[in-house]
């Protein structure tokens, strides 16, 4: 028989509908630090694809035939709404991963690898990046849907034991260093990283001043002050990110090992290729990265029951960057409140931790509320989608990564699930949508999700995520393309 298995047909219609969503909005591709919006925008192609998707769906199961008239509605209403509806219908018919998932991932990997090799030689073959971009950045409109689905999916706990996939632990730190050091090589036509923030840090180290910048991250600035004097402020400013990447690697390794012995190498790998590090690569915010790394360490200590270490790292984190600390600390306190209300008891280490850190949280929170540390409050749809889709030059839209995160969410420790849910819900009330998403320890559910996946697609998927991180790193600075700088 030429016909593939039935499950595969429903995946075919999911794929067609996904492509239809991509073409109906256009592709957002980040090249040379500029995000070019609506490339390959083609409503006609989107209509054809959505009809093909509905056809494939109705051939699988008779009662899905109702998707055909919905698909033909795209001639009356804008196709972007129709393709979203058909995509959701198609997803509802899915049962298991298709057999051809591995082949498709490997093909995308092959083109991505070719792009990266040529780009390292200084030749940019942008069309080769399209397959990667379609999956990761093609339909940012779906990312909020996926993130909120994570809350619902994580609510049901399944007791199944996840066997962590083992990879070489050195791989993660090497990859992280390559990702953060590429912008400092000769490939960059400016020869200095293009991140926004490192200049502010080196300016402060050159001439320290008292003010909002100092008060929101005092410890971080003081800690690196001697090094900045020794090496020179601008060199220290540039070198912050590779150093902090190593710290992120250590903390994500420890947190992974605390959650499940043997998960460390994979979770540190997922931390290095996460939207977190990519966003920091584009936007700076170094103190924020330092602070969340320490908060991950603190979380690891809580889970292991080492109270004093966790309280100490929590305080270091607070004095390094109050915003990131307040977000994760708030999640931890909320977890304690919920578990106290549900079970009337909290574990001893957690109780001590809360006792020693809740006072500064209340103090800090009231300082944020009074406006001393200002936070933009309020919801606007356009701000929401701008931030999710392209505020940080496209780095936040790593669709497949979020999908894996959601898939691993129901095996994640409840404390991290509460931190995730509270932050995602907070995006509806605060204007800093992107900061709320990137500060989360998403690498834990992501590595659990990878471990739960079928064996034959794991390695191609890890390769894909690494290649995407390299692609984003190679495009985090301006370069000469066809004689002009982009």
């Amino acid at each position: 028989m030429i016909l593939v298995r039935k499950e595969d047909v429903s995946w075919l219609s999911v794929g067609l509908a996904f492509l239809s969503v991509t073409f109906s909005f256009g592709l957002n591709l980040t090249l040379g630090r500029t995000t070019f919006l609506h490339l390959l925008y083609s409503p006609l192609l989107a209509q054809l694809l959505v009809i093909a998707s509905a056809l494939a769906l109705s051939t699988r199961m008779g009662y899905y035939v109702f998707s055909l008239p919905i698909a033909f509605l795209s001639y009356l209403v804008p196709v972007e709404y129709v393709s979203l509806v058909v995509l959701l219908i198609a997803v509802s018919s899915v049962r298991a991963l298709p057999t051809f998932a591995r082949e498709i991932l490997l093909a995308i990997d092959a083109f991505g690898l070719t792009y990266v090799i040529f780009a390292l030689l200084g030749i940019r073959l942008n069309p080769l990046a399209i397959p990667m971009a379609v999956v990761q950045a093609g339909a940012p409109i779906l990312i909020p849907v996926v993130l909120f689905a994570g809350i619902l999916y994580g609510l049901k706990v399944r007791g199944e034991d996840v066997e962590p996939q083992s990879i070489n632990p050195v791989l993660a730190v090497l990859l992280g260093l390559v990702i953060t050091l590429i912008p400092m090589t000769q490939l960059n036509s400016l020869h200095v990283p293009e991140t926004v923030d490192w200049r502010y840090y080196s300016q402060w180290w050159e001439s320290p001043t008292m003010g909002w910048f100092f008060f929101s991250r005092p410890l971080y600035l003081l800690m690196f002050f001697p090094f900045a004097r020794l090496l020179g402020p601008s060199i220290m400013g540039e070198l912050q990110l590779p150093v902090l990447t190593v710290l992120l690697w250590i903390s994500s390794y420890k947190l992974g090992e605390a959650v499940k012995p043997g998960l460390g190498p994979l979770s540190s790998f997922m931390a290095v290729v996460s939207p977190t590090l990519l966003t920091f690569l584009y936007s700076g915010l170094q103190a924020n990265l330092f602070s969340i790394s320490l908060m991950y360490l603190s979380l690891a200590y809580i889970i292991e029951g080492k109270v004093w270490q966790s309280v100490l790292t929590s305080y270091v984190s607070m004095f390094s960057h109050i915003y990131a600390w307040a977000q994760i600390e708030g999640g931890i306190l909320l977890f304690c409140l919920i578990s106290f209300l549900l079970t009337r008891k909290i574990g001893k280490p957690l109780k001590t931790y809360v006792l020693f850190t809740s006072f500064p949280f209340i103090l800090g929170f009231s300082l944020i509320l009074t406006g001393f540390f200002s936070v933009p409050v309020g919801f606007s749809t356009s701000n929401y989608f701008t931030q999710v889709a392209f505020l940080s030059w496209g780095t936040i839209n790593t669709f497949l990564y979020y999908l894996i995160v959601v898939y691993g969410m129901n095996s994640t420790p409840r404390i991290m699930f509460v931190i995730y849910s509270s932050s995602i819900l907070a995006t509806l009330f605060l204007g800093v949508v992107q900061n709320l998403i990137i500060d989360l320890p998403l690498f834990i559910p992501a590595s659990l999700g990878i471990s739960k996946l079928r064996e034959d697609v794991r390695t191609p998927l890890l390769l894909f995520l690494a290649l995407w991180a390299l692609f984003m790193s190679l495009n985090s600075f301006p370069y000469v393309f066809q004689g002009v700088t982009i």
Partner: protein, 154 residues
């Protein structure tokens, strides 16, 4: 039709365009920058730009050429800075510190009545996804790598 002022800014030989779209109903304006070097068009919401509207009328009478129109203007020189202002207090030209700002497009009472240019064509076009011999070779290399990866990755 909105009133707008479009300036050509030349800084050390590189050109960018800055457009102010003025909304008189709520006293706001949209600032659009067009950069032909990076081929980008960016827009921001801003307040009314006081630095180009409502300037002091001092100096000697002169003439400014805007498109096909001759606009009567006032020119003042202060040190290295030359500023040309129209009689309704709009900045027409400013030369200072190696930067020249010139009004080149406008729809404004007393100045000109033009429609705004196409920002995208002003930004210049670069084919981001070209298909040439090199791309074809890249696709071939990609296909070959696909066959290799199928063997190499378990």
């Amino acid at each position: 039709m909105l009133y707008f002022l479009g300036y050509e800014v030349v800084t050390n030989g590189s050109i960018t365009y800055v457009f102010y779209l003025l909304n008189f109903t709520n006293h706001s304006s949209v600032l659009i920058t067009v950069d032909p070097t990076t081929h980008t068009v960016l827009n921001y919401s801003t307040a009314w730009p006081i630095s180009i509207l409502a300037l002091q009328l001092t100096g000697t009478p002169s003439n400014y050429v805007l498109g096909n129109n001759n606009v009567p203007a006032i020119e003042s020189v202060e040190g290295n800075t030359i500023i040309v202002i129209s009689y309704n207090h709009v900045l027409l030209e400013e030369v200072s510190h190696g930067q020249t700002t010139r009004l080149v497009y406008a729809n404004f009472p007393g100045l000109a009545n033009e429609s705004p240019p196409d920002f995208w064509s002003l930004a210049g076009h670069v084919d981001l996804l070209p298909f040439n011999l090199l791309t074809a070779l890249g696709i071939l290399a990609g296909l070959q790598l696909y066959l290799v990866l199928r063997r190499v990755i378990r």
